[in-house]
Structures are given as structure tokens and as C-alpha cells.
């Protein structure tokens, strides 16, 4: 990933910070914004590191930690919660051997929750990278994980 090439696409205005961070994260195989990238952004936009780091910390979709190739986001909204999203989290935790927010040692999976995915009609729901899955059961999740492995 070439940070300079990404930065050059945007005007040097701090209004573009969020777009820049999305772009950097999307192009990184580990789906995150590294400290080196943070520093490059500060130099490009002439802002201080905390201004970038604070934005990374505020938006759950952005991360300053290295993540897996597959980012599993379980919907944490009330509807999915009522339909058993906690069970799904427990199930995936057990299958992958990681807690919420962690990444498997092989770098394949990261488990996170997310705000409402707008898929309440098919609760409980989750996203894996850009793909949406609904009406989930542990069995269904098991087969999705198998396919990804």
C-alpha cells in the first residue's frame, strides 16, 4: 500500500480526513490505519496526531489495530440482541478462540460488534467485510466460517 499515492488523491484540507482514513483502511490488507499512516496523514494535512487518532477512536468502523483478513461484525442493535446475537458472539468466540475485538493468531478473522445494520427484518444479522448475512443461527455461521477458511 502506497500512502503517498492515496494522500495525493485528496486536497490538503482536514475536511477530507475521514475519507482519507477510509481509503487507507480499505487498501490495507489488515483493514486498519497504522501509526505510520497516522503520521503521514498529519504531515499531509498539517494537523496533530491526536486529531487523527481521535477520529479513528470515535468511529467504530475505523481501527488503529491490525485486523484479520475477514472482519466479522455482529449487529448489536436491540432487535438483533433480542433475536440472539449474544449467542452468536459466544458461538464465534468459542469456534475461533478469540474475544470480542480480537484477531485470530493466523490473521484470518477479527470479531467485532457494530451499530444497527438496517437488516432488522432478518435479525440476527452480521457483516463479513462487505457481505451481509441475515437470519443467522450457529449452524449457518459455522458453514459461513468454513467457506471462508
Amino acid at each position: 500500500m502506497n500512502i503517498d499515492a492515496i494522500l495525493k488523491k485528496y486536497p490538503r484540507k482536514k475536511e477530507y480526513l475521514i475519507e482519507i482514513l477510509h481509503d487507507i483502511q480499505n487498501q490495507h490488507p489488515q483493514q486498519y490505519v497504522s501509526e505510520d499512516a497516522v503520521i503521514a496523514v498529519t504531515q499531509y494535512l498539517k494537523i496533530k496526531r491526536a486529531q487523527v487518532y481521535g477520529v479513528l477512536g470515535y468511529y467504530s468502523i475505523l481501527s488503529s489495530q491490525s485486523r484479520g483478513k475477514y472482519l466479522i461484525r455482529i449487529c448489536g442493535s436491540p432487535v438483533c440482541n433480542m433475536m440472539g446475537s449474544d449467542n452468536l458472539i459466544d458461538f464465534i468466540s468459542g469456534r475461533l478462540g478469540i474475544e470480542l475485538g480480537q484477531t485470530t493468531p493466523d490473521g484470518l478473522f477479527t470479531l467485532e460488534t457494530t451499530e444497527c445494520l438496517g437488516n432488522c427484518g432478518a435479525a440476527p444479522a452480521m457483516m463479513v467485510n462487505q457481505d451481509m448475512y441475515g437470519s443467522l443461527t450457529p449452524e449457518k455461521v459455522e458453514s459461513i466460517l468454513k467457506k471462508l477458511k
Partner: protein, 907 residues
């Protein structure tokens, strides 16, 4: 300021027009609670505790977000408001870690007691289990505990709006949110440790580390307001004293020049006062060894030796170095001593080595050698040129005004061969090669003239010779075309054009000129050409426009003001002025003949005369020439040749090694008096603690020596009496007394006791004999010192934020050395590559005068072929390399330009 009438709870209040409602209410004794508001910050409206009812507005509104209006009817206290506040506070407290260790002011805790919420029966919300917060103690000066943070934004805004640094932000959301610096580790962030956030934190979430274990606020014996001892900004600080020692330093809110702001040195640099290395007893060198002696023995011996040498070799053989660190009172007594007891004008000090050329040029051209404007103007001017002035590091609080101005759209032009932090705020950065300033300024002048950006009216009315003088300048700069200037300086044509256009078109413009301009063989000419540009553009003689040389030391301005100058009496009156000498002789009670009318020797000249055996005895008060003088190998030889050297200081220094007698003096925290800061503001210095051992105030020591030499000074009861005498012979301070300085400083000239002081100079006329300013057209002359095959690099030297001058004070503070404590040499990456030198590699730096070894720091902050070193460090003394070739007009030495070579050290 215009006033408006408002009514709070039926009480009529005269409030400042456009004032903040909460501020005005509190200023009138109505104590509306609130946590997120601070008068230095924009209103946040986050804590909601300052809710009030305002007639005509719906619901409860946060008073901190309202501007007062004529006739406003406000309810600040009723049952509903108080219950709402109690409810909100209760809620806030439920998220809060309530531990309190008595080391900081806790406004939340105070409110908790005020609303009875310390009693659990009054609480409605049970404590929430706190999030998993980690305390960040990685900074050398502070630690942050998120569990005590109420997310009020005060620290973030303190850093951004007050100090212009903006290194803090929130991380995470809601109850999990907390403050971060950098990428989560405070000690690795851009935070430079000024501690503004500590001072403004209402809950002790951000606390300072030094003395944390020791300090108890209820055991503080006294709080003493005084003036910071470091640079020339003159920040007002409050020292907290416990068990006879300084345990904290806070900025004093609401007074100029700093309005509560401090830098890392002002807030944390007091530790040296209580260093065990302080000198505590007079020492006489006997058979080569220093021996502790009584004051009587030391003073008698000094008086005897001075008299003996005076009799044997004459007055010409004696000289004194005054001190930019001592008070006006100390320095006034010192110059009086040299003039009366030595009978000679051989008195000078380190001002000769910093702004002598600036002062020389300014005196000749506009009549005063001091800043023409006030510190606030740095925020409100349209344009600032900072030339040879690393203002963020060397005058950090003046720089806060600059950065605040930048946030409001001020255009900043940085002229500096080396990158400085101000470049980050600059509209344009001109990076001329070292020593080409005159060429660059002449090029800018030509561009300003060519585009008609001159002020003809100003030139005609306020410049001697009017348009005729202007035409001479115009003719001289004709050959400095843009292309030619680029060739001479290395600054691209486009940038010269841009800078000239910004400056030429600004309605108001300030110039800050620093050591980069003054410390050259062409120092006086540099400042002449700067003044030429200012004058033809008419950018002086009005508010927010002028020339300002920020002064390096706390009292470098004052020491010259009170006559520590070989050619000037107090108040800048030439020694040759017979009428003034007559007046001074009367005040001092001596025959007129006792006052020599011949100017004495300057700093470097004194050292050269010592080398030549003409000066036999030298009295040094609070100076360390063995680091600060140019060409130290020569200085060392000169000091060794002296028959008698007295050094009066607070520590052993590189200079005391050569002293025959060493006298222990009081530090700034142990004495009363005054300093004068960079904008001519006379400020009080007050005693906070006792001197260690037998150390004494400087003026008292001098007074005793004078007495023993048979020169009787009046017996001053205290420093205010010295000031009164000083004021009577210093016309610019004639109206000032200690009493008048009780609450705030006064800017000279202040000729009478009812004069308010002068914030801007030259509004009506310049201080020259004709009342008009003078142009001094000057040609660019190539430097005599230049890169050669033997010495292919040009070395520049300067200061850094965390250390101060010869390091005698700053390097005895763990908080400052915790940031940085190592000398280094900046080298451009391409040069390092050519020489095969790695970052941090140990190298030898050699000039025709001497050599040193230091570590390399590879950085594009310098141009190829140029180098930079900070000069604070005794282990790598830059001045072993510099020259003592002097500027012919001001006798300043060229610290900024030495040809050197760099060699790898093979170990």
C-alpha cells in the same frame, strides 16, 4: 469599555458590553456554578451546571453560552434551578472516581460539598462501574487519569485555543471516552509540556508530576507572585511554597504579558533553586585550591585586591560584566559600582552578544533599541515577519499570541535558513543561505518599490530627507532584481514575490527579529536593511505595526535600560552627555570629575584586552562567558591571564574554574526587585524563599565591596529605594516605582507618576534628534568566513525549547532534562550520505579556532552544506568553534556563521 445594564435575581449589574453572561455574573459576586467554562476559552456548554432562566427565552439556558444584552432579566438561583443543578451534578459524580489526595484544586469536589452530595443519603444515582481506564504517566511532566475526567473540553481547548498547539483530542465515545495526546501515549506525542491543560483542568484528571508526593495544598505557606527567570517574555508566575521550598509554579491569570500561560521552563524550571549544588559560602583560591571563607574575609580581600590593581595599573585595568539574569536594582548598583569604584566605563554584559547590532541599528534609525509594540499586537496584526527568530522555542509565550493570530488568519512569513516550528503556521517560508539576509531584504525592498507598495505619505512626513532619501535607497536596491536575489540567497523568485506582496499589502504588519539577524559580522547592516523595508512600507509608528526584537533573557532589556553599557548611562543617555553626568553626579553625591566621559570597552573587547594584558581584574556577576563568549579557546587564555577574577553566581560554572574568588549569590526566587521584559514592561520580582547557606542578594554584595573600597553608597533600606534612585536618573522610568507595579507591569517610557506607560512607540515621532526616522541603504557584502575545501560546512548555532543559555539553570531541572539533555549536530540527509555518516553517529567538528565532538542528527531542517548545533551544552561547546571577529558598528560576534568540517570518529 462600554457597559450595559442587566438584572440578575433582581440585582442591577453594570456588565461589559458583549460580555459573557456567566463571566459577568461571577465578576459581580454571583457565584453560578459551572465546570466546563473558563474565561480564556470559547464557551462549551457541556456541563450544564450554569443553567439560568432568561426572560424571553424558553427553558433553562447555559449562561456560559449567552452574551449580555441591555435590560436582560436573569434568574440565577431558584429552587428549580438549584434542584436541576443538583440532579446534573449527582449524575456527573456517579461516573466519577472521587478519590482526592489534596495535591490539586478540584472544582467538582467543591461543588459536591456545596450541593451536599458528599452525603450518600442525598444521592440518587449509585456509582457506575468505571470503564477500564489506564492512567497515562508517560509524559515527563504530567499524568492523566481518565477516571477523574469529566470530558469538559477545557484541556483540549487550553491546548488549542490558548497555546495554539492542539495536540489533545477525545478518543472513543460516551462513557468510554477519554483524552488522548498523539496516538494514545502522551510521552510520545507532540506535547511539549507547557502544562496549560494542568492549569485549566477542573478535576485533577491532569496533574503535574513534580512534587506530587510532597505537595499538600492545605500546607502551602505562601503563594508569591513574581516574574519568570527564563526568557524575555516576562511571564507572571505564582510560586507555591511549602516547607520553605518552591513546590509548584502556576501562571497568573488575567495579567499581561502572559494571562496565565506558561511554557515548560516557566512551569517546571524552578527545581534548580533548591539544587544541592548551589553555592553556599564565599570561596577564595588559596594555593590553587578553593577554600571556604567568611563573608568579611572575602569582601575585604576583594576590596583590597581591586584597590591594589587600580593603584598599580590604573582604572583602565578594571572591568565588570553585569548580568541579564539579575534584577534592575542589582544591575543599577553594579554599573554604579564600576563607574564609581573602578572609575571607568568598562561595563558590559551578554546583551553585547545577542541584540547589540539590533539596538545599534534601531538607535540610529528610529531612536530606541527596544520593541516598538506590545505582546498582544502579535495576535492582532495582519502580517508577521519572523526573521532569524525561532519564536516558538525561544519565546514560547509570545508565540502563543502568534499562533492565535494565525488561527484567525494572520499571514506569517518565516525567514530562516533553518526550519523552525513556526514554519508549520507560516504562509511562506524563505530559506536563505546563511549570511545573505541583506541581499534578501534588498530584493524584497526592490519588489515592494516596483509594485508601488510603498507609503509615500509616511516617507515624506516621517523619514529624514523624505523622497530624496528614499530615491537613494531605490537606486541602491536596483540591482537586487528577483533573479539576482535568488542567485545570491537561494530563495526562489516566487517566494520572494509572495513575501513582498503579503508584507507590502498588509494594513498592519509586525516584524520579529532575532539572533539569526543580529549575530553576524553584518548584524547592524542586516537590521538596517530590515528597517529600510519597514520604513518605506510605513509599517511602524502605529499600533500592531513595527519592529520587535524578542529579548533572550529575563532582564536583558532592563540591564541596558539601567546603564550596564560602556557608552550609555541609565536611560540610554550617552556617557559623553555632560548635562546628564552632572545630574547623575548630584544624585550619586560625587564630584562631576569622578564620572569618566569616555566610553568603556565592550564584552569581547574586555576579553581581548585581558588577553593582551591590559585588563588585569574582572568582576563577573551572574554570567558564564566560558560558554557564552565566542572563540572560547581565546577566552580561556584571557581568563587565565587575569591577575584577579571575581565571579558571583548561584552555581559553579565553566567560568568559576578560573576565579580567584567565588561569591554565592541569591537566585531570582530569593530576591525582590524588577525585571524589564521584551515589550519594555517593568515587572515585579518578589522573594519567595530564603537563600541557601550564606548566599546573599547581588546588590548587597556589591554594596559591601563598594564600602570597603571607600565608596559610600547610601544605605538603601530595600530594593524599592534603589528603584527610586534609579528612576531619578532614568528618564524613561521616572514615573515608575515598586508601589505602582504592585498589580501589573508598566511599559516604559513612563516619564511621570501619573503616566500610564507606553504600549506603542513612535505614534507621533521617532526618538531621534530630528524626530524623524532615518534610512540607511546598505549593500550586501559577501561573508569573510566562507566554506573552503578544508572547512566545507557553514555551522549555525542557537537555542532549543527545553534548555536555556549556558544550561546553568535549566540543566538542573529533572523535568527539563527528562525531555532532552544531549548535544547534537543537525546535518542534511544528502550531506550525511556523502560523508557516510549514520544518524546518531559520534563525529568531530573542527573549525580554524577549535574542535568538539558530538552526535549527528540527520534532518532536512537545514540546507545542504549547512549545519546547526544548540549551544547550551558544556560537553560540546559550540563556541570553541566560533569567531571573535566583530561587527564593526555594534561589536557583536558572529555566532551564526562558522566554517567547519565534520569527521567521523573511528572507535
Amino acid at each position: 469599555m462600554a457597559k450595559v445594564k442587566i438584572y440578575i435575581d433582581g440585582k442591577e449589574i453594570l456588565a461589559n458590553e458583549n460580555g459573557n453572561l456567566l463571566y459577568e455574573a461571577r465578576a459581580n459576586g454571583i457565584d453560578i456554578p459551572g465546570l466546563c467554562y473558563h474565561h480564556k476559552l470559547s464557551p462549551t456548554g457541556a456541563c450544564r451546571l450554569c443553567l439560568v432562566k432568561v426572560e424571553g427565552m424558553r427553558g433553562l439556558v447555559a449562561s456560559c453560552t449567552l452574551t449580555v444584552k441591555e435590560g436582560m432579566q436573569v434568574t440565577a438561583f431558584d429552587n428549580e434551578l438549584e434542584e436541576t443543578r443538583r440532579f446534573l451534578l449527582d449524575y456527573l459524580i456517579s461516573e466519577q472516581n472521587l478519590e482526592y489526595d489534596g495535591t490539586y484544586n478540584d472544582e467538582l469536589r467543591d461543588l459536591m460539598f456545596r450541593y451536599g452530595l458528599d452525603k450518600s443519603e442525598n444521592r440518587h444515582f449509585s456509582p457506575l462501574s468505571p470503564a477500564k481506564f489506564k492512567i497515562d504517566s508517560s509524559s515527563p511532566v504530567l499524568s492523566y487519569d481518565p477516571s477523574k475526567c469529566i470530558k469538559c473540553f477545557r484541556c483540549i481547548k487550553a491546548c488549542d485555543e490558548v497555546q495554539g498547539k492542539n495536540v489533545l483530542s477525545f478518543n472513543e465515545r460516551g462513557i468510554n471516552s477519554y483524552i488522548v495526546a498523539g496516538t494514545g501515549v502522551w510521552g510520545e506525542s507532540e506535547c511539549d509540556g507547557c502544562g496549560e491543560c494542568i492549569q485549566l483542568c477542573p478535576t485533577g484528571a491532569i496533574v503535574e508530576k513534580p512534587n506530587r508526593e510532597k505537595i499538600k495544598l492545605d500546607k502551602i505557606e505562601k503563594r508569591v507572585r513574581t516574574t519568570c527567570p527564563y526568557c524575555g517574555v516576562g511571564c507572571q508566575i505564582e510560586l507555591l511554597v511549602q516547607d520553605g521550598k518552591i513546590v509548584r509554579s502556576n501562571g497568573v491569570e488575567g495579567v499581561l504579558p502572559n494571562n496565565g500561560r506558561l511554557c515548560v521552563k516557566g512551569r517546571f524550571g524552578y527545581e534548580f533553586v533548591h539544587s544541592p549544588e548551589r553555592l553556599t559560602s564565599p570561596l577564595i583560591r588559596k594555593n590553587g585550591a578553593l577554600v571556604e571563607v567568611s563573608w568579611d574575609e572575602a569582601l575585604d580581600y576583594i576590596a583590597h585586591r581591586f584597590l591594589e590593581i587600580k593603584q598599580k595599573y590604573g582604572s583602565d585595568s578594571l572591568a565588570g560584566y553585569a548580568s541579564a539574569k539579575c534584577t534592575n536594582e542589582d544591575n543599577y548598583i553594579f554599573q554604579k559600582f564600576i563607574r564609581l569604584a573602578f572609575g571607568i566605563n568598562n561595563i558590559d554584559y551578554c546583551a553585547r552578544l545577542c541584540h547589540a547590532s539590533t539596538v545599534t541599528a534601531m538607535l540610529k534609525s528610529i531612536g530606541d533599541g527596544a520593541a516598538s509594540n506590545s505582546i498582544e499586537d502579535f495576535e492582532n496584526t495582519e502580517c508577521l515577519i519572523a526573521t532569524g527568530n525561532n519564536i516558538i522555542e525561544t519565546h514560547p509565550i509570545t508565540a502563543t499570541y502568534v499562533k492565535r493570530g494565525a488561527a484567525k488568519g494572520m499571514k506569517i512569513i518565516v525567514i530562516d535558513p533553518k526550519w523552525t516550528p513556526l514554519v508549520q503556521y507560516a504562509t511562506v517560508w524563505l530559506q536563505p543561505r546563511l549570511g545573505t539576509d541583506v541581499a534578501l531584504l534588498n530584493g524584497m525592498i526592490r519588489e515592494i518599490i516596483a509594485n508601488g507598495w510603498i507609503d509615500t505619505g509616511f516617507i515624506e512626513q516621517r523619514v529624514e530627507g523624505g523622497m530624496k532619501a528614499f530615491l537613494e535607497l531605490k537606486q541602491l536596491v536596483e540591482k537586487y532584481t528577483l533573479e539576482n536575489t535568488e542567485k545570491l540567497t537561494g530563495v526562489p523568485v516566487e517566494k520572494i514575490k509572495e513575501a513582498a506582496e503579503i508584507y507590502g499589502n498588509a494594513k498592519t504588519a509586525m516584524v520579529a527579529t532575532g539572533m539569526g539577524m543580529s549575530q553576524q559580522v553584518t548584524g547592524t547592516h542586516n537590521v538596517f536593511s530590515l528597517l529600510n523595508m519597514i520604513l518605506i512600507a510605513g509599517k511602524i509608528g502605529k499600533e500592531r505595526s513595527g519592529i520587535n526584537p524578542p529579548r533572550g533573557q529575563n532582564n536583558v532589556q532592563g540591564a541596558t535600560d539601567v546603564g550596564c553599557h560602556p557608552a550609555l548611562y541609565p536611560g540610554y543617555i550617552p556617557v559623553s552627555n555632560a548635562e546628564n553626568r552632572k545630574h547623575v553626579a548630584e544624585v550619586w553625591g560625587v564630584p562631576l570629575d569622578d564620572l569618566p566621559d569616555k566610553p568603556g570597552l565592550t564584552t569581547v573587547e574586555i576579553m581581548k584586552a585581558a588577553y593582551d594584558g591590559k585588563i588585569k581584574a574582572l568582576y563577573i556577576m551572574g554570567e558564564n562567558p566560558m560558554i557564552s563568549d565566542p572563540n572560547l579557546n581565546h577566552t580561556e587564555e584571557a581568563l587565565k591571564k587575569l591577575e584577579f577574577l571575581v565571579v558571583q553566581d548561584i552555581f559553579h560554572t565553566e567560568t568559576t574554574k578560573f576565579a580567584h574568588v567565588i561569591l554565592p549569590a541569591s537566585s531570582w526566587a530569593e530576591k525582590n526587585g524588577t525585571f524589564v521584559n521584551s515589550d519594555r514592561r517593568v515587572l515585579r520580582v518578589r522573594k519567595a524563599v530564603e537563600s541557601p547557606g550564606q548566599a546573599r542578594e547581588d546588590w548587597k554584595i556589591i554594596h559591601e565591596i563598594a564600602k570597603r573600597m571607600g565608596v559610600n553608597f547610601p544605605s538603601y533600606a530595600d530594593e524599592s529605594e534603589i528603584f527610586d534612585e534609579l528612576a531619578s536618573v532614568t528618564p524613561i522610568m521616572a514615573g515608575i516605582s515598586h508601589k505602582r507595579l504592585e498589580h501589573h507591569g508598566i511599559q516604559w517610557p513612563c516619564p511621570t507618576p501619573d503616566h500610564p506607560g507606553t504600549s506603542t512607540l513612535y505614534l507621533d515621532k521617532f526618538n531621534t534628534p530630528s524626530g524623524k526616522a532615518k534610512l540607511f541603504p546598505v549593500e550586501y557584502v559577501e561573508q569573510s568566513e566562507r566554506a573552503t575545501p578544508e572547512y566545507p560546512f557553514i555551522l549555525n548555532s542557537g537555542r532549543i525549547l527545553y534548555h536555556y543559555h549556558t544550561g546553568t539553570m535549566s540543566r538542573r531541572n529533572k523535568t527539563l532534562t527528562g525531555y532532552t539533555n544531549q548535544p547534537y549536530l543537525l546535518m542534511h540527509p544528502n550531506d550525511a550520505k556523502k560523508l557516510g555518516i549514520e544518524d546518531n553517529e559520534l563525529v568531530r567538528v573542527i573549525s580554524a579556532r577549535g574542535h568538539l565532538s558530538t552526535h549527528i542528527r540527520i534532518s532536512p531542517e537545514v540546507l545542504e552544506g549547512e549545519l546547526f548545533m544548540p549551544w547550551h551544552y558544556t560537553e560540546s561547546q559550540v563556541n570553541r568553534l566560533t569567531r571573535d571577529e566583530l561587527d564593526p558598528y555594534s561589536r557583536i560576534a558572529p555566532f551564526k556563521l562558522s566554517a567547519v568540517r565534520v569527521e567521523k570518529i573511528y572507535t
